[in-house]
């Protein structure tokens, strides 16, 4: 293994590692723009220049590889490479590069959406000159739409080409290219082939400056007003890891969070903009009971009592409908509670998309189908006909999705029911058909675990606060158990779930952490 010396640090690195990667892994901060771990190396921004002993000029550290050299060529008879990242020459060069990058930059940070999370801003502050010697007029270009969701501010662009490489290597759609050359270069898309693929939103994330902007977020808020919580995308069974940025009760944007075992560095636009459909919903804030066709608010105690009365003595005649949109804990609780039939509504299926980089959008657009089947093994195949056969008259439904249609078969079944309980967060069509609505939590308010289609259990964290008197879905079901059978908190519940389903045993939120864990016994250790 080659021995590399960076500043005062002596490290052994793998043959073929770049200086930049070695430095970053060992906590040495080298600034960079064009380098991205998922993309091909181009070395175009020149920001990561370092001095390598024995080389006449400064080298771009992202494109300088460390390898073993013969003994007679070793520096000080020992090192395969000696790198300086902090000396006067390197620091002066960083100043110079930044001065070039800022020549035509409008310095409009006060109105720029990237401000606060901008590498150009950060590095200028840290390494740059306070003043530019450029007295001439700046080159000014108007903003352009590259696709329906992405707008480019050419003046802020530093031409690092991360976005063009993304469309060539990750999405494989190659819409973006560098138009013209030299002083006239700019990022462009052909007029008849705009940037409209389902991964387009990622180019705004990987843009190190404020050039590429998502129209969904532009001028909506400033990053320092927003709080960040890590969560998991709930729009397909891949379960991309995300960071949700929110202020008070409103989500402003979702960004992908790195998880090499699930989504790499990226997420798709279905998930990225999916949170909007939970906004401006007619929320259910208190338990609602229908009498003479009109819903009126009742207390939690009364609601629970009403349900218990219906269940008592007729346990075998109650059907439960679990949902792939709910957490393992909630489905487990319902599955355990219901002694009659457990089933689920027909599935929402869509197109399966796989990109050349391996990034996948699953055809199953629900987050937890696998987990639901794991913790409710008794799910019947054809719920509708089983309900008819067994003459079920009471049904307890976990609401599926807000835009879920009720088809004819189900309409018929529901009209035959004596008592319908729907656990819902919004006044969906399904909720309106209920006799009793229990207010649960919306997708970004829930906490629990979900299992993706590869069998990876991930911690779904709540982002937003509860709405009104609504309660966590597992807690509502907990109230329906007899006092002795209840769980004291969600950790106890997870323990109980593990006892019944060994593949989930030993699971805790703490163990799952940010990255989740695969099933198959790994949870136990």
């Amino acid at each position: 293994m080659p021995l590399l010396k960076i500043d005062d640090l002596e490290i052994e690195v793998k043959n073929g590692t770049t200086v930049l990667e070695a430095a970053l892994e060992n906590g040495i901060d080298i600034p960079y723009y064009c380098y991205h771990p998922a993309l091909e190396i181009v070395g175009s921004c020149r920001m990561c220049l370092v001095q390598v002993e024995g080389m006449p000029k400064l080298q771009v550290s992202c494109n300088t590889f460390v390898g073993e050299v013969p003994p007679e060529r070793k520096v000080d008879g020992n090192f395969d490479m000696v790198v300086q990242t902090q000396n006067d020459l390197v620091i002066q060069e960083r100043k110079n590069i930044l001065e070039f990058l800022l020549l035509n930059h409008p310095l409009d940070c006060p109105v720029c959406d990237q401000a606060g999370e901008c590498y150009l801003q950060d590095y200028s502050f840290k390494f740059g000159n306070a003043h530019s010697r450029f007295d001439e007029d700046k080159r000014v270009r108007p903003n352009e739409y590259l696709g329906s969701q992405i707008v480019i501010n050419h003046n802020r662009c530093i031409l690092c080409s991360r976005c063009t490489r993304f469309t060539r290597e990750i999405s494989g759609t190659s819409e973006l290219f560098v138009d013209e050359r030299g002083y006239s270069s700019k990022i462009a898309a052909l007029e008849d082939r705009p940037l409209n693929n389902l991964l387009a939103g990622n180019v705004a994330d990987i843009c190190p400056v404020g050039a590429l902007l998502s129209t969904d977020y532009v001028h909506k808020n400033r990053i320092w007003n927003l709080q960040k919580k890590s969560s998991v995308c709930q729009d397909c069974s891949v379960g991309c890891n995300i960071d949700a940025f929110y202020q008070k009760r409103k989500i402003f944007r979702l960004n992908p969070r790195e998880n090499q075992d699930v989504n790499g560095y990226f997420m798709c636009d279905i998930g990225r903009y999916g949170f909007h459909r939970f906004e401006d919903l007619e929320r259910v804030a208190r338990p609602l009971f229908k009498s003479n066709g009109i819903f009126s608010e009742i207390s939690w105690d009364t609601a629970i009592e009403k349900i218990s009365n219906k269940f008592n003595g007729a346990e075998e005649k109650v059907a439960g409908v679990v949902s792939p949109f709910h957490t393992n804990e909630t489905n487990f609780m319902l599955g355990r509670l219901i002694k009659g039939i457990i089933g689920t509504f027909p599935h929402i299926e869509d197109e399966e998309i796989t990109y050349p980089s391996g990034f996948r959008i699953s055809s199953d657009r629900s987050p937890n189908k696998r987990g639901m089947h794991d913790v409710c093994p008794s799910i019947v195949d054809d719920l509708a006909s089983e309900i008819n056969d067994k003459e079920i008259r009471v049904i307890y439904i976990l609401d599926n999705e807000i835009d879920k249609e009720i088809d004819e078969t189900w309409n018929k079944i529901l009209t035959k029911m004596d008592f319908i309980v729907v656990q819902a967060y919004a006044m969906t069509r399904l909720a309106k058909s209920a006799h009793l609505i229990l207010p649960g939590l919306a997708p970004f308010e829930r906490e629990g675990t979900i299992t993706n289609d590869q069998g990876r259990v991930q911690w779904l964290r709540s982002v937003l606060p509860n709405n009104g008197e609504s309660r966590p879905d597992w807690e509502i079901l907990n109230l329906l158990y007899k006092t002795g059978e209840r769980f004291s908190d969600i950790n106890e519940l997870m323990k109980g779930m593990g006892e019944q389903f060994p593949s989930y045993s030993g699971m805790t939120f703490f163990k799952l952490g940010d990255q989740g864990l695969p099933l198959n016994g790994n949870l136990k250790t």
């Binding site: 352009e144 739409y145 063009t164 060539r168 973006l176 138009d179 052909l190 007029e191 082939r193 705009p194």
Partner: protein
């Protein structure tokens, strides 16, 4: 966004043998892009949207990548050009020896500014960087030929002689 017009008709190479010969000279298809562009421009006069599409199909890559290449090189034109391209060198030697006067002369005579084409598509005027013939400044390249040490009179004669 690029202002290129949406392609109307599919561009087809008039001489498929030449295309095959070009492909045979390169290790992979994508490497033939530049040569194919030259061939297409010789046939069409400029690189239209349909030329881009056809070449992208042939070399098996996305049209945007071909456009990346076309826009990089100054000798590819994305708009229709005149039959004769008057390229006036504007670098140092030619500039001090009266290149600007030659440009003004064409501008006055045909009412076209640099970068423009006459209405009858006879001439396109353009300023170019060093043509590498500084000793004989001012130099004008018309299509593929150099015309050196030009005066306004000789320039006039030259322009008149072109169809």
């Amino acid at each position: 966004m690029n202002t290129m017009a949406t392609p109307q008709e599919k561009f087809i190479f008039a001489n498929p043998d030449k295309v095959d010969r070009i492909f045979s000279q390169y290790p992979d298809k994508k490497s033939a892009t530049l040569s194919l562009l030259h061939l297409a421009q010789a046939q069409e006069g400029y690189i239209s949207g349909s030329v881009i599409d056809t070449i992208a199909d042939l070399v098996e890559c996305h049209p945007a990548i071909v456009m990346d290449c076309v826009s990089f090189y100054s000798m590819f034109f994305t708009k229709p050009q005149g039959r004769h391209k008057i390229q006036v060198c504007q670098t140092l030697s030619c500039s001090v020896n009266g290149a600007d006067a030659l440009v003004d002369h064409v501008t006055n005579k045909f009412s076209i500014k640099p970068g423009e084409t006459t209405d009858d598509r006879r001439f396109t005027l353009m300023k170019v960087e060093c043509l590498g013939s500084c000793g004989t400044a001012p130099v004008v390249q018309i299509n593929n030929d150099y015309h050196e040490g030009l005066t306004n009179e000789r320039f006039d004669e030259l322009l008149e002689s072109l169809p």
